[in-house]
């Protein structure tokens, strides 16, 4: 492929990682949602670009899914939910921003080291993509474990999924089954999460995970 294709793909993937860092940085729910929307948007772009350069039209579907569901529907939905449930707006973190950032750096470095061991018969783009995807996945996980309230964790989880999509699209010629399954799983994930948030609301007045933890096993 030509140089420019590679650079653009690289740029998009890299910015995805960057936005993951931005998410880590946020301390307000709304802001977090917005950044996540941006995250999804970038993903959509990168997927679309992949579709273009791989001339794999089916990838456009994935791009569309990313754009519609992740970048628009879900942030809005979560936004509404926050309003409805009247969740207090700032994100309770476990560790401070700075240390989280440092940890994130470490994770990205780790991802790079691991991927660089891969021999180069895989084409460089795929390799870069995987490196970035791995970073995004790890950052998403990091976000999940450093955020106290459910919305934060959900967002973390979703950015993790984004990393997966990035990897999947990076994998050239991967059968459609995978994209569909990704979308499919995320769909189910959201349905179930929705159900849960719903049920949870009707039972507790908060989605704060700690409220659930009060009923931890064996506390009878």
């Amino acid at each position: 492929m030509s140089r420019i294709d590679f650079d653009v793909a690289h740029l998009l993937a890299g910015s995805l990682v960057l936005i993951s860092f931005l998410e880590l940085y946020q301390d307000r729910l709304y802001a977090l949602l917005n950044v996540y929307a941006l995250h999804a948007l970038t993903l959509a772009a990168s997927v679309a670009w992949q579709a273009l350069v791989q001339d794999a039209p089916h990838l456009y579907v994935t791009a569309a899914i990313a754009l519609v569901f992740k970048a628009i529907v879900i942030p809005v939905a979560l936004h509404r939910m926050i309003v409805q449930l009247g969740i207090h707006r700032e994100i309770e973190k476990v560790v401070g921003i700075g240390s989280t950032m440092l940890a994130g750096m470490g994770l990205v470095a780790l991802a790079m080291v691991v991927m660089l061991r891969v021999t180069h018969n895989a084409d460089p783009l795929a390799q870069e993509d995987l490196a970035f995807a791995l970073s995004v996945v790890l950052l998403g996980l990091l976000m999940m474990v450093t955020r106290r309230n459910a919305v934060g964790q959900v967002v973390g989880f979703m950015s993790l999924e984004n990393g997966l999509v990035l990897a999947a699209t990076g994998a050239k010629g991967m059968p459609l089954v995978v994209e569909i399954s990704v979308a499919f799983s995320i769909l189910i994930a959201f349905i179930v999460i929705g159900i849960f948030l719903f049920r949870i609301r009707e039972r507790f007045d908060t989605v704060d995970v700690q409220a659930l933890d009060r009923f931890r096993g064996e506390r009878r």
Binding site: L107, R117, L142, V145, R148, R219
Partner: protein, 669 residues
């Protein structure tokens, strides 16, 4: 043929167990099951005896059971035949006893099925000829006996006893499992035949021996692995206690002999030292513990520990002599050990039967509430007396015969080239002598406090003689004790094939000796004739009686006890079990049990009674088991916090696992 009979009887017992489950609750179940067990074990006994006395070639059979590509191997050679005799004789006595004793059982459906299965398990252990079948039967035996221990599960102590027992049993099984795994090698040749052929290296053999000592020792009750034994044996119904103490511990001895003398290859120089030391310590500790007890059945259980020690001393000697190529001395030691195995199974069963009879008659196991039973239950008292004399190694009974042989083996030690053994063996001999003397003291106490004196409780005063079956069983065993005592030669000759199979040599045949005496080595060296001693005592005693009744006055007057003229109304003024043991406790206890007495003497004029409190510590439990339990408990508490984490914390567990693995991958090359 004999093997087939033995296996068939095991199968019959298993079937009986299933049948017992079906009919367990009905009243007829008890006589049916025990009667059938008497029948089956009798048949099996005959078969085993035929195999042993006929010195027949080992028989083997492989059934398509167990580990599929190996199958279940069974083999009846001299050693297993001998132990099968022990098992079946004990089982025969126990079943006979239970025909009467079982009637008092409150929950027969909890006893009958496991009883039959227990017998089957023990039979199968001695027949098994590959590691899997062996361990299967072994653990099956433990499991069924565990169920029997739990049969009176409403008593919390019994539940605790069963718990400790099961853990120790599994511990032993796992130790044996490791040992067999070592002997079998990575490609898993589990048959004993393969292990015999393998000739393991010195290190493998050494580990196998240590593991066998731990595994078999924990079942046999070797100090310090004995902790479960005095808890579990008394908890079971008395005929089961008799089997566990008298027979099951011998199965453990069998396992050790099988591994140490046959499978583990040529012995190294230090094996015998380890075994001898363990045996000596076990013997003395066991009897000292026993002396401090006042629960009759627990006292007997601790004496099992002592006798196991004596047996292991014999085995250790055999190992020592075998190491230095003295097959005849080794044969003598092994014979002594195995003969003691047989004898102990006799008198320990007898004593437990007696305890059971007392228990049913009075509902008491605590000697402090007994006394004077010789008046109420004379036959039981007589049989029990024989048992006490036998276990105290008094001539002309069997206990003395086997201990005498052990002493003779010890006296061969100067021929050993190793200086360590030259020094160690006499010291062990001192321990043996000490334990024998203490055992006599202990049984003076046990018999005197339980059967003699005046009843210490209404229950004891109202006791009645036990039933016919129980008496028959006890007298049968008492007679056996006497026979084995006066005719030891027969048994020594019967053991010759075992020695030949394991050591390649056997003791000189004894049947040719005049007056049925036994001559272990040479006539000039030592000889003993139980029969003659017995006749002598009869004769001189009879002579004395005759003379007295001829010449002396036969007048006899009953009067209150003299007791130096002190009026002594209450039975409470008698010596109790604790007070009887007090001098010995002061001699040994202060060292072994950190025993201490605190006397509280009120000043004159004060009406409070004076009090004497005795404090003792089971140091082995306190230094070995309790800390272990604590560690487990603390660890459990610490880890248990992981149950109460938040989801986020669980996620971070996953996350850190991922990161760690990635790091591993990053550094892995």
């Amino acid at each position: 043929m004999t093997l087939a009979v033995a296996l068939a009887s095991a199968a019959a017992l298993l079937a009986l167990a299933v049948f017992a489950v079906a009919i367990g609750r009905s009243a007829a179940a008890t006589p049916i099951i025990y009667g059938a067990s008497v029948f089956v074990t009798a048949i099996s006994l005959v078969a085993a005896a035929a195999q042993l006395l006929g010195a027949a070639e080992p028989l083997g059979v492989t059934l398509p059971l167990g580990v599929p590509w190996i199958g279940a191997h069974f083999r009846l050679d001299a050693l297993s035949a001998f132990f099968l005799v022990v098992v079946d004789f004990g089982a025969l006595g126990a079943s006979l006893f239970a025909l009467g004793y079982g009637a008092h059982e409150t929950a027969p459906q909890r006893v009958l099925p496991f009883y039959a299965a227990f017998l089957a398990g023990m039979t199968l252990v001695v027949l098994a000829d590959d590691a899997f079948t062996f361990l299967l039967s072994w653990e099956f035996m433990s499991l069924t006996s565990w169920a029997l221990v739990m049969s009176h599960h409403r008593v919390p102590e019994n539940v605790r006893a069963g718990y400790v027992y099961l853990i120790m049993a599994s511990f032993g099984t796992l130790a044996l499992l490791l040992g067999f795994g070592l002997l079998a090698g990575p490609d898993g040749s589990y048959t004993f035949a393969a292990m015999r052929a393998a000739h393991p290296s010195a290190t493998i053999g050494a580990f196998a021996l240590i593991l066998a000592l731990i595994g078999a020792g924990s079942k046999a009750g070797v100090v310090p692995l004995h902790a479960w034994l005095p808890l579990a044996h008394p908890a079971a119904p008395s005929h089961v206690s008799a089997l566990m103490s008298g027979v099951m511990t011998k199965i453990a001895v069998y396992a050790f002999v099988r591994i140490a003398f046959e499978l583990a290859g040529a012995p190294s120089w230090w094996w015998s030292i380890v075994v001898l030391a363990v045996g000596g310590i076990t013997a003395v500790m066991g009897v000292l513990y026993a002396l401090m007890q006042h629960d009759l059945k627990r006292l007997l259980a601790y004496h099992t520990v002592e006798n196991i020690g004596i047996i292991f001393i014999g085995l250790g000697l055999a190992l020592a002599f075998q190491t230095y190529g003295m097959p005849f001395a080794a044969a003598l030691s092994l014979t002594a050990a195995l003969f003691h195995v047989f004898n102990h199974s006799l008198f320990k069963s007898l004593l437990f039967f007696g305890a059971g009879a007392v228990l049913t008659a009075t509902g008491e196991r605590d000697m402090e509430h007994l006394g004077g039973l010789i008046h109420r239950m004379p036959q039981t008292a007589f049989a029990f007396l024989i048992g006490c004399a036998a276990i105290s190694a008094l001539p002309p009974l069997n206990g003395f015969a086997s201990e005498w042989l052990t002493f003779q083996a010890i006296l061969l030690s100067p021929d050993l080239p190793s200086w360590g053994l030259k020094i160690l063996v006499p010291a062990v001999g001192a321990l043996l002598a000490l334990s024998a003397a203490l055992a006599a003291a202990c049984f003076v106490k046990a018999y005197g406090v339980t059967f003699l004196g005046r009843p210490r409780s209404p229950a004891a005063a109202a006791a009645t003689e036990t039933d016919g079956f129980s008496l028959a069983a006890m007298l049968l065993l008492a007679a056996a004790c006497l026979v084995a005592g006066v005719l030891p030669g027969l048994f020594i000759d019967a053991l010759a094939p075992v020695d030949t199979a394991l050591l390649g040599a056997h003791m000189p045949p004894q049947l040719g000796v005049p007056w049925l005496a036994i001559i272990p080595i040479t006539a000039s060296r030592s000889s003993y004739d139980g029969l003659l001693v017995f006749l002598f005592m009869l004769m001189s005693g009879g002579l004395a009686a005759f003379a007295i009744h001829r010449l002396a006055s036969n007048r006899l007057r009953r009067a209150p006890a003299w007791d130096c003229g002190y009026p002594d109304a209450s039975p409470a003024t008698q010596y109790t079990a604790m007070s009887f043991a007090q001098p010995i406790r002061r001699v040994f206890g202060t060292m072994v049990f950190r025993a201490g007495e605190t006397a509280e003497m009120p000043p004159p004029g004060d009406t409070r009674p004076a009090r004497l409190a005795v404090e003792m510590h089971d140091l082995i439990w306190e230094t070995l088991y309790a800390p272990l339990a604590n560690v487990i408990g603390v660890a459990a508490d610490r880890l248990n916090r992981l149950q109460f984490l938040t989801i986020r914390q669980f996620l971070s567990l996953v996350f850190s696992a991922l990161v760690i693995l990635l790091l591993v991958l990053a550094v892995w090359s």
